[in-house]
């Protein structure tokens, strides 16, 4: 069980760092938003790996609640970001 936690936790960290790396190097807004989403997903993976207690016991509910909240918050931010991007593209069509 500990090993499962470790590999998923580190996988989450890899996702987090990878996405941040892309977020810092791209100029495309859409890709930045995608990267922020994947980075969040990475952190959620790390959190939930800590929650895992094997398949016989229920997983720790606190990280599950945190991640649920996080998913909704990430969606809200994404929706606002994309709407702003759309508005900018309408006003000045030469923007990306």
């Amino acid at each position: 069980m500990l090993s499962t936690q470790l590999i998923y936790g580190i996988a989450g960290i890899v996702l987090f760092v990878l996405s941040l790396r892309v977020a810092f190097s791209t100029e495309l807004f859409l890709r930045q938003v995608l990267a922020i989403n994947v980075a969040g997903a990475g952190l959620f993976l790390t959190l939930l790996s800590v929650a895992f207690k094997g398949l016989e016991q229920p997983a720790d509910p606190i990280p599950q609640a945190l991640v649920l909240t996080g998913i909704v918050v990430a969606f809200s931010a994404t929706a606002l970001a994309l709407a702003l991007g759309k508005k900018l593209a309408e006003n000045s069509p030469d923007e990306r």
């Binding site: 500990l2 499962t4 936690q5 470790l6 936790g9 580190i10 996988a11 960290i13 890899v14 987090f16 760092v17 990878l18 941040l20 790396r21 892309v22 810092f24 190097s25 495309l28 859409l30 890709r31 938003v33 995608l34 990267a35 989403n37 994947v38 997903a41 959620f44 790390t46 939930l48 800590v50 929650a51 895992f52 207690k53 094997g54 398949l55 997983a59 720790d60 509910p61 606190i62 599950q64 609640a65 649920l68 909240t69 998913i71 909704v72 918050v73 990430a74 969606f75 809200s76 994404t78 929706a79 606002l80 994309l82 709407a83 702003l84 991007g85 759309k86 508005k87 593209a89 309408e90």
Partner: protein, 339 residues
């Protein structure tokens, strides 16, 4: 032997996950990137399932993969509409290994990954593996629900959930402030129309079930709200002119209903001498279901507004708009029968 099977499964999941993330983030073609993102989200839902977190799996599939993906796709298509001269396949390439600056950044992030991983490993080794879980499970029956995640979200940490609904509402308000809905869909062909006639009622039914089931099995307000919103998205996509959101009062009322449920119940409890959101044990389950019902409707409307990415025409009074009214049989979604 059994452990080996799990290791292989885990290895495959993780490789696929990171691979999909890579394909999403480094893709030259944005449309492909978004589709990989949706696949990533669905695979992630599978991972949540493997990690014994089915509530999160449901939410991830519905919101993280489904609705987010839909959001990205419509955003991309709108971008293309305004940049007619850009070849949609040509995007800025991501160069990772060419310049010194990039290599330096790579090194920096690799160090970050190593440090973060090491910290994680040490923290995991030294920590008490139980954390808050036993405390939660011990006190769970006083919450009136038997699903611990629902108990945490709607009772122990209800304040955070209320604030999270506020975050959703704020995003929707911000989006609506930017302008009216601009994307309208053509009436769909036979396939989508007939599919939607089956799909939408099933989604509505499932939404109600998941809301109810959330008290004792995986599910809850967020998952149910997302399903309902998905029904709305499907109806939107069919381009049926007769489908509308609820009218002014009902629409605005339902939008604020989720937070209002939390606030009003919390304040009433406070004014009667208890702490804010301190549910009395015997009514706890009922109150939670009550709040969750309103939250489901709120969440679904807000998610739909976010998907439409603009102020719906039903948001303002009819008299303020120049839109022609539909005379023949208006149908409304959300709780009313389709005709």
């Amino acid at each position: 032997m059994e452990n080996l099977a799990w290791y292989i499964l885990d290895a495959m999941l993780i490789i696929a996950l990171i691979g999909l993330a890579w394909l999403t983030l480094t893709n030259h073609n944005l449309r492909q990137a978004i589709i990989f993102f949706i696949a990533f989200g669905l695979l992630l839902a599978l991972v949540w399932f493997r990690l014994a977190a089915p509530d999160v799996a449901l939410a991830e599939a519905a919101i993280g993969a489904g609705l987010s993906g839909a959001l990205f796709l419509t955003s991309l298509s709108q971008q293309k509409q305004t940049n007619k001269k850009d070849d949609p396949l040509k995007t800025t390439s991501t160069k990772f290994f060419d310049s010194f600056q990039n290599q330096f950044l790579n090194l920096l992030f690799v160090i970050l990954a190593l440090v973060f991983s090491a910290a994680f490993v040490f923290a995991l080794m030294e920590a008490d593996p139980d954390r808050l879980s036993p405390t939660v499970l011990m006190n769970l029956e006083q919450t009136g629900v038997s699903n611990p995640v629902t108990g945490v979200l709607l009772d122990f940490r209800a304040y955070d959930t209320m604030l999270e609904l506020a975050v959703l509402l704020s995003a929707a308000l911000g989006i609506m402030a930017l302008g009216p809905v601009k994307t309208h869909y053509y009436p769909s062909g036979d396939m989508l129309s007939s599919l939607s006639q089956w799909l939408v009622p099933i989604l509505i039914l499932f939404s109600g079930y998941i809301l109810w089931a959330g008290a004792h099995s995986p599910g809850g307000a967020f998952q149910a709200g997302a399903l309902l919103a998905a029904a709305g998205v499907v109806l939107n996509l069919t381009g049926d002119r007769q489908v509308k959101l609820p009218n002014y009062w009902l629409l605005r009322g339902l939008t604020i209903g989720g937070i209002a449920g939390f606030l009003i119940i919390g304040l009433l409890l406070m004014l009667s001498g208890r702490a804010f959101l301190d549910f009395p044990s015997q009514w706890s389950g009922t109150l939670i279901l009550f709040i969750e019902s309103f939250a489901t409707l709120s969440i679904s409307i807000i998610l739909l507004i976010a998907f439409q990415s603009g102020e719906p025409q039903e948001w303002e009074h009819e008299s303020k708009k120049l839109a022609l009214k539909n005379t023949a049989g208006k149908t409304k979604i959300k709780g009313k029968t389709l005709c």
